[in-house]
């Protein structure tokens, strides 16, 4: 709070203030009125001084309040930034020279392409890609989550972030960002709002505000001529008061605070937007591409049922399947073991004397299993296992095909189990749809977003899961390239697409999407390609991101509308006050019954300054978003901020006038 107050004064520097044209204009006119005040004082126009002095004071308060709003918004991020900055500056790096020698250097001297060694207990000195090794890394500095994550060379979990802590093992990291450009640096700049550039919509809105300011400048600057014709006098503080009340100071003063607060809200959700543009785009998104696995369904398929064929006993099937899966370290394989254990208490492998020979799963054979002496046990895709059994001279039980078909239709995957030539049964592998996902999709639909599921499954399976999860559309048998193609197609149809990705092969699609959210656990390539990073690596968070984007835009629109609607009351306060002397009939326009012309003008100026402070909480919190469709949101907000914007100042100015007149200020 104290820091915000000091910052508010520091921001009075016109060189900084010119970034905010509306408030800059207020400062210039405040200076002008201050000069007039000094002039009037030196000339000894005693009668004018009390009124003019108070107007000038409140004009300055208008500028300071606007600065204060921005400082408040920035203040929230500053503390966080300080902590982050400390990790950055104190790090020492163990740089690997070309000849393999280790050198201790400060982290700030590392350049892109350098390789460093990080051992247990070291802070990783910069962003990079693991080139060798595997390690448990504590990323609490970035994510706030203290449970360590595994990072390893190759694959989709190879990126590490500067400032995070290696807990076990050691890794070699190739640095991928120069100092000042690292993730941490970007994050510091972001939470501080230091290098905040205006977003496209902010620029457009600023143009509108500047345009309105010019309109009111014209309306006020031509007034002395009209007033002279009417035989009325105007003074500079009076004209400035009218001008400052009319120009959109409320939204002008709060605009950057709204933007900073929006970014800050994302950070609180552990999402980093690389630019404000991305946050705006998030509000616009109307199509959402979601990977099935991990987003809609729990990561993996689980064995849910054993179905014997050819008169085999259920327990025998379970036992055979259990044997076939013992060496299968895939989640599916483990789930078979778990199911067998749960249903029949199968535990120790009953291998007998023979040494088991495990056959690993390969994409080519699409089977895995075990050879126990003469027994060749296999489980795998129906086609391949049937082929395997046939080659050994086995027959296919007639009930097999209907069973596998039925499982596939329901969205499951049938794994056929064979003991040599004999096909003993089917394992039903099932995708488990995440709890509550249906409600989430319903909410997205209400927000106007269409969800598209992407999966490598066959269309039948995909359709079953789509039905169960309530997703709007799906693309089956997708390859990594499908995503990019799909995004381009959707965009050509005029849609704004968001997608979530983590792997290197997601990078092109992340870059092509209007909003690309990369998982922090993903690869460096994916993180570079996306325009947002989710530090929690939680794919369903896209909903919060979209809502925050919408909130940000709504808050801007609501306060702009409110600001403009306020002007009506201010006219009714100031115009009769200005010309009452020349045309006493104009007192009919003094509908608020303000006490004196001076108190009317002063009250309008005070209202105009105070409303900025009163709206700071709203601009930091954001206007509440409800997924009820655009027409209803518009009607509601027009009512609250449009009509409210017309009515509130009539009441506010009247109340202030009562106080001002009561205290005898004017």
């Amino acid at each position: 709070m104290v820091r915000a107050c000091l910052d508010a004064l520091r921001k009075l520097d016109p060189r900084a203030l010119i970034r905010n044209p509306v408030i800059f204009v207020v400062e210039v006119t405040s200076l002008l009125s201050s000069a007039v005040l000094v002039h009037d004082f030196s000339r000894g126009y005693r009668g004018l001084i009390p009124f003019e002095f108070q107007v000038v004071v409140w004009l300055w308060f208008t500028v300071i309040f606007a600065n204060f709003a921005e400082a408040m918004a920035e203040g929230r991020g500053k503390a966080q930034a300080d902590t982050l900055r400390r990790t950055r500056t104190e790090t020492q790096a163990k740089k690997l020279a070309e000849d393999g020698q280790l050198q201790k250097v400060p982290a700030t001297s590392l350049r892109r392409g350098d390789t460093v060694l990080c051992e247990a207990g070291d802070i990783i000195p910069g962003d990079g890609e693991i080139v060798e090794g595997v390690a448990a890394v504590n990323e609490a500095a970035i994510t706030g989550e203290s449970a360590p994550v595994i990072r390893e060379a190759g694959g989709d979990r190879s990126a590490v972030t500067g400032g995070t802590l290696v807990i076990s093992d050691s890794i070699k990291v190739q640095i991928s960002a120069n100092p000042g450009e690292t993730f941490l640096d970007r994050m510091i700049a972001l939470v501080e709002g230091a290098q905040r550039r205006k977003t496209p919509n902010e620029i457009a809105l600023t143009i509108l505000l500047v345009g309105l300011t010019i309109v009111f400048l014209l309306a006020v600057a031509t007034l002395p001529s009209f007033a002279r014709y009417a035989g009325a006098g105007t003074t500079v503080p009076m004209l400035v008061a009218l001008f400052v009340c009319l120009i959109p100071t409320t939204i002008g003063g709060l605009l950057s605070a709204i933007g900073i607060a929006g970014m800050d809200r994302l950070v609180q959700h552990n999402v980093l937007a690389m630019s404000g543009r991305a946050v705006e785009a998030a509000g616009d998104v109307d199509t959402l591409l979601l990977d099935k696995t991990g987003t809609i369904t729990l990561g993996n398929r689980m064995a849910s049922e054993f179905i014997p064929v050819g008169g085999v006993a259920l327990e025998l099937l379970a036992e055979t399947a259990h044997l076939a899966s013992l060496a299968d370290e895939t989640p599916e394989g483990r789930s078979v073991v778990t199911l067998a254990k749960r249903q029949f208490g199968l535990r120790a492998p009953q291998t007998g004397q023979e040494q088991p020979k495990f056959v690993a799963f390969s994409a080519h054979t699409r089977m895995s299993g075990v050879d126990l002496g003469s027994r060749n046990i296999r489980k795998g895709a129906a086609e391949q296992v049937i082929e395997f059994a046939r080659q050994l001279g086995g027959a296919v039980p007639p009930e097999l095909a209907p069973i596998t078909d039925a499982i596939a239709r329901e969205g499951g995957t049938p794994l056929v189990v064979a003991d040599g030539p004999r096909i003993v049964g089917v394992i039903h592998l099932k995708d488990v749809v995440k709890e509550g996902i249906r409600e989430r999709f319903a909410r997205l639909r209400a927000m106007g977003l269409r969800t598209v599921m992407i999966t490598g499954d066959n269309p039948l399976t995909a359709q079953a899961i789509a039905r169960e999860s309530g997703v709007d559309d799906f693309v089956a048998e997708a390859t990594p390239e499908t995503k990019l193609k799909l995004i381009r197609q959707e965009q050509a149809k005029g849609r704004m697409v968001a997608m979530i990705g983590d792997g290197t092969n997601d990078a092109p699609a992340l870059a092509q999407a209007d909003v690309g959210i990369a998982m922090n656990a993903g690869t460096q390539a994916a993180r570079e390609a996306g325009n947002m990073v989710d530090l929690d690596s939680n794919p369903t968070k896209v909903m919060e991101v979209v809502e925050i984007g919408k909130q940000l835009l709504m808050t801007r629109g609501a306060l702009t509308t409110f600001s403009i609607a306020n002007d009506i009351a201010k006219y009714f306060a100031i115009i009769p006050a200005m010309f009452m002397a020349a045309y006493p009939e104009l007192s009919a326009l003094n509908v608020m019954g303000l006490a004196t012309p001076e108190s009317a003008i002063l009250s309008a100026v005070i209202f105009n300054a105070l409303i900025i402070v009163l709206l700071i909480p709203l601009s930091l919190r954001g206007v509440e978003y409800r997924p009820v469709g655009a027409a209803r949101i518009l009607a509601r907000n027009l009512l609250v901020y449009g009509l409210g914007g017309i009515v509130v100042p009539f009441i506010g100015i009247k109340l202030i006038d009562l106080v001002v007149a009561g205290l005898g200020w004017a």
Binding site: A204, I214, T222, A230, G494, L553, G557, E585, L586, I633
Partner: protein
Amino acid sequence: MFWNALAQVGLFSVVLLPVTVVLGRYLARVFSGERTALDPVLRPVERLIYQVSGIDPRSEMTWAEYAVAMLLFQLVGMVFLYLLERVQAFLPLNPQRMAAVPADLAFNTAASFVTNTDWQAYAGETTMSYLTQMAGLTYQNFVSAATGIGVAMAIIRGFVRRSAKTVGNFWYDLVRATLWVELPLSLVLALVLLWQGVPQNLDPYVHATTLEGAHQSIAEGPVASQEAIKYVGTNGGGFFNANSAHPYENPTPLTNLLELLAFVAVSAGLTYTFGLMAGDTRQGWTLFGAMAFIFLVGAAGAIAAEQHGNPLLARLGIDQRASALQCGGNMEGKEVRFGIVQSALFAALTTDVACGGVNAAHDSLMPLGGLVALLNMQLGEVVFGGAGAGIVGMLVMAVLSVFVAGLMVGRTPEYLGKKIESREMKLAMLYVLVFPAVVLLLAAVAGSTASGLASLSNPGPHGFSQFLYAFTSGAANNGSAFGGLNANTPFYNLLIGLDMLVGRYLMIIPALALGGSLGAKRALAPSAGTFPTTGLLFAALLVGVILIVAGLTFFPALSLGPIVEHLALMAGKTFK
């Protein structure tokens, strides 16, 4: 009286709806080159024009090329008109031996007619030769309006096209607007007017001796033809000084109704055309609805103010009540054959539509009646508006409304699926700024210079309204005069001339650029989260934004003019 007024306004409104649809459809066909019933007659003429002038009507122009072609065409037309006025004394068809028009007046008149304003600082029957009237003024009545319609088509194309570089061909639009739209409409209207008693000849004025033995010179000429295009093209420049209050311009209540319809027809029709071209007629109806609402409220206000009469006269015991024998109300400056309703309706609509033809003296309207006329123009020519200019102004206001309120649905603003970004905002704000800038600045100059104040015929707020009205009318390309202001002085001729040129071209150019800029964009598909730009809510928002923008800009000035005049009048105070 209420039911009488409702019936008269209702009749007009009911007839306007089918006119909007039929004409809107026709316009869409004409400008997309589809077949129309008039093609057998007009196609050969069109082809001939292109052949003679070496135009390839199929070569499309960018917005900038379109603007340059339009400006060059207008510049040549303005120079030609100026020269014609200056040398009319040496040219034929001048039976009354009119002298050369003075330089300042000739400039003002030339600017006035090329900008589709038709502000007249002169009296037609004592200044212009028949040749000037026909080859100069009537010619511009056609092409200035055709230019406006063409520009509107170009801008509409920009709004509805996707990822396009071009907005159409200016010459094609110009020729089509003239041949297919204005010629047939004004031909029909001229014939009806002739039937109703409007003269059409090239004879010298008739000299008559009145019953009192006084000598009177009765002006006539090719009135019907000019009268027709005066309205079809929303020009409003009368053949006679009294404009449509003159019995030779507007002899009967029937011609009054037809003239009202004629000047609003194209502007109303273009809203429907826009809807058709945007692929959703509701888009057009929403704009139409916003226009109609503002028009009806204004007209109702003006009718009520005029019917209420003048409290100062009431105090003298003068009967201003409506009865079987009189329509009552404030009849100063009004024609008995039109009465209160047709006069107030005309005053409201002519200022809405940027037509400027008048059938009553606006100077004599009650302060609130005058306020309606003044405010209608200050809305920026968006309530139906001048031929073409109206829909353009309304589209700019729609862009503005979408921008301000569109954010409130939580998306960056878009109109017809096109994102409104900083370039569009710059252009829209430029368009919005030009009008108040030129009106207020010039009025401030007039209000603080001796030459500005010397032309006023009334002191106090009414005098203020006189010059505020003049600059408003000029910049809005309306052309109606409040009256009472001696506008034919070098000061006003130059300033209002400038006023009209700025109010026309400095607004058209950003609007064209806006069309071009939107045309180049891809369109986003609508979804449940899309800001709805059709329906009551958006129409209400549009009305609100239009009223607030104009109201906030002009409220201080209006409060020193008609508003305080009204309040003073109610208090029984007059200004001497």
